[in-house]
Structure formats: structure tokens, C-alpha cells
Symmetry: C2
Subunit: 270 residues, 2 copies
């Protein structure tokens, strides 16, 4: 049997990571048309399995999405997750922390929105910002952010120990692809509102972000919460890869409709 | 132009309501096949408009679903709302209140999960349970629950004053239809887990619930937060009606992509 994209794209715990060695447009031999058709099929099966996940109410699933600006986080959620039943699926977009959030530890705001049994949680950005933007811009001293990798692993261990399956996606785009996407936002009136001048400033820190991602992925890809590096210059391959991994994650749970809570064989509805 | 289902099914403020006079299987002349096709079309347009709603981030939309057990709340959400982008759409299912929730006023837990700008909120059950199950089973004295209609109207006024469009759906099924659906849950192993023996007990209070719904709908169908009585014995008509009202609600907002936040005509991406 061919190795699954799930296994090909997963970062093995302990593996050294240098994103500059990873090709953001690698397609594993897939052709666009076939990939789009397979993505549709994946989504159909994901929808069926989500229904059983909710019925069984035994497992929680958490997908984390991280990427550079214009890396495709919103697009991936729209394309891959829009078929899901919104009852039982919650997306949380993490912005700059509020004063109340800052008055707690950095995982406090994350913990309270983690998925319950039977639920799928999707994080658009996440606690990883606390070792990415915070590190790149020195928003906290190195002494603080450098301990966070371990704290993150321990936190994710807690979630996993309670039945949460965690899968983390880094959508890997090239600097050139980001340029094209930002230019598209400037050119298309329907995308114009998405353009944020701050993205240009962040772009200057590309190398620093890559270093920060290298470390976050290398230090925090664990057996209970692996990272996946998704070649994301081609949106159709990105969608195929993410939908395949989501599907295999659900399949691996061996979901089953629960047994009835009692013997109702003699029950009569009057 | 034919009158929209939105207008036909809306309960005009001040109208006397007696649900026993409303036919749960009335179809307004629609045939099943046409209705299913129209529902699909409605959903496609809803998805497009949701995208603009999120981009504009000016309006909030709240849909409230209430019904008797097996009335189709879960099914409506799955059928009508599953195409939505889960980013920007949040379903909240209200269960029996927790001790912490009970230590606050009855709208406290509701208020904190209301949709923000650009978001669609969906309530599966809601604050109306506090004038339904609470009234039917005497969980609070009449003196308490009888003031809640006014408190609810005032609370919904607050939401509306801040740009939230509220639409409330009562999925109207007959007692006979409920019997059939409960029997299906008992007969089908895939639905067996949904069967809750407590539903049989609640069924004995059918008449009391109808009285409570009559009052809730009559007293709380306001210009800023109208109730809709959805004939729901036929699932295909229910889905058509709800999707049509959701669509017209979004259309009526005259959504537009926002203007760019500045003049970026000379911006160059380096």
C-alpha cells in the first residue's frame, strides 16, 4: 500500500528541521485535477466521520494552523472545513492578546477553547504565536519564550492524555509566493480589504520567522502532537494534503456509533 | 412578486398565537423535489453572503432554534448550515444550566456566546428554555418566569441595538410525527444512541409545552427579533423554509465588501 500523505508529511519527533530545505511547491506526483477530485472525496468522508465522532462523544480532535501572512490559513479552513457540521466544530482565531489574557499565563486563553468530547477544534494561529511573533519581535525576553517549547509540549500532553488527538499544520509558502498573493490582494477589489500594510513590515522579518518556525516545529513535533509541513504554494495540493491528513486522523480513531444507554427493546411510544 | 416564505412564516408582533391552529405539514404548494433543489440553491447563496458578512464585519446575525424533542433542531443545523464556513459561525447547544450558570441571571450564559461583528451565531435551544421547560415543570415560581418575557425582549433589544439581526425559529411538529421519529430512533441501530427515555416523559407534557410555546411566541415576536413558525413534519419543507429565511435575512442586510482601509495604489511589495 502506498504510504499515506499523513505519514509522508509528518515531522518525526526529534528530526532536525530547516524549512529552507523543504520545497513549498512539491506535489508528490499529484496532478491538479486528480488532487481536486480526491479532496472532494476526502471531504465527503470527513463529514460522515464527524457525525460518528459527535455521536460517540469519546474523542476530541484539535487541528492547529500556522503560516506566514497570506499563507492560506483562512483559505484552508474555508475549503477543507466548510462541509463540516458547525454543531460540533469550533474555529478560534487567535489575535493579539487582550489585557485580561496577558494577565494570565500564555496557555490560559488557549485552554478554555479546546474541544470537548465529540468536538473538532480548529485553531487559526495558536499558542505557537508565543514562540513566533513574540520571539521575532522580542515581545518577551529570550529567557521567557525559550522555556515555552517545553511548556507547550507539557500542555499538549495534558490534552492528549484526556483523549484529544492533536495535529498541527505549518502551511509552507515561499517568499515569492507571498509576494504574489499580497499583490493580488492589492489588485482585486474583492480582496483589497484583506490587505494589511503591516504584512509588508512583517515580510522584512521573513528569515527570522523561518528560524522561529524551524525551532517550533523541531522542538514541538511529538508523538502525541505531531507537526506536518504542508507544501502550500499550490492551493490545490495544500487542500489535498490537509484534507487527507484530517481524514486519516479521523479514520485512525476507529470511530463507532455508541451502544444504546439501555435495553429499549420493549419501549412503546404512546 | 410572490410573497417570500420569510414574510409568510413570520409572526407579526402582537398577533395572538395558538399553535393548535397551525398545520405542521402545510407546504405552501411546494413539491418535494422542487423544494430540495431550491434549498440547495439557497445554501449556495448563503455561503457567498456569509463570506461578505465576515469581510464587512459590520453586522451580527443570530438564529435561534427551538422545538419539541425530535423536532429537528440538530437536523436543520446539519442540513442548512453545514455549507457555512465554520470560521465565523458558532453553534451553541444549551443544556441544563451548570451551578455556575445558575448563580447568575438566566441571560448571563447566553450573552457571553452571542455573535460578534461579521459572525453568525446559532442557538440550539436558548434562553427560551427559561420560559418553556422551567414553566412546564415549575423549576421556578410563576412570579419569576412570567417576568422573563419582558426581560427577554429587553435583552434582544440590546443585541439588536448593537447591530445584531435576530431570527427565531419554532420547528412545529405534530405529536404523531414525534411518535414516529422516536420509534425510528428505537428501530434504527444508527439512531439508537439518540433515544433518550426522558423524551417519553416529556411527551406526556405535550399540551403544557404547546401552551408555553404559544405564550413565548406571542409575547416575544418583536419587530427586532421575530419568531417564525416553521411547519416541520416534512423535513424537506422545513429545510426549504429555514434556508429561505436565512437567505433573505442575509440579503436584507445589503452586505458589501468593505472599502480598503487606505490608499494602497502606490504600494509595492518588495
Amino acid at each position: 500500500m502506498a504510504k499515506r500523505l499523513h505519514d509522508k508529511l509528518m515531522v518525526k519527533p526529534g528530526k532536525k528541521i530547516r524549512l529552507s530545505d523543504w520545497d513549498p511547491s512539491y506535489n508528490f506526483g499529484w496532478k491538479e485535477e486528480e488532487a481536486r477530485a480526491q479532496t472532494e472525496k476526502n471531504i465527503e468522508e470527513i463529514i460522515v466521520l464527524q457525525n460518528i465522532l459527535a455521536a460517540e462523544a469519546k474523542h476530541s480532535v484539535l487541528f492547529v494552523l500556522q503560516a506566514m501572512d497570506a499563507g492560506g490559513k483562512d483559505g484552508t479552513i474555508r475549503k477543507v472545513m466548510s462541509g463540516l457540521n458547525p454543531q460540533g466544530c469550533r474555529v478560534t482565531s487567535f489575535k493579539a492578546p487582550t489585557p485580561e489574557e496577558l494577565s494570565h499565563d500564555f496557555l490560559w486563553r488557549v485552554h478554555r477553547v479546546c474541544p470537548g468530547k465529540g468536538e473538532i477544534g480548529i485553531f487559526n494561529r495558536s499558542h505557537y504565536e508565543d514562540v513566533l511573533v513574540v520571539r521575532v519581535h522580542g515581545l518577551a525576553p529570550k529567557k521567557v519564550w525559550s522555556q515555552r517549547y517545553k511548556l507547550i509540549n507539557e500542555f499538549e500532553h495534558l490534552l492528549a492524555s484526556n483523549g484529544t488527538t492533536i495535529r498541527k499544520f505549518y502551511l509552507h509558502i515561499s517568499k515569492e509566493e507571498q509576494k504574489q498573493r499580497l499583490e493580488e490582494r492589492l489588485a482585486d477589489p474583492k480582496k483589497h480589504w484583506k490587505f494589511n500594510p503591516g504584512d509588508l513590515k512583517e515580510r522584512e522579518y521573513w528569515k527570522n520567522y523561518m528560524d522561529a518556525f524551524d525551532d517550533a516545529i523541531e522542538k514541538c513535533s511529538t508523538a502525541h502532537a505531531p507537526w506536518f509541513i504542508i507544501p502550500a504554494d499550490n492551493k490545490w495540493f495544500r487542500d489535498l494534503a490537509v484534507s487527507s491528513i484530517v481524514l486519516d486522523t479521523l479514520r485512525d480513531l476507529k470511530l463507532e456509533y455508541p451502544e444504546p444507554s439501555g435495553d429499549f427493546s420493549k419501549v412503546v411510544v404512546k
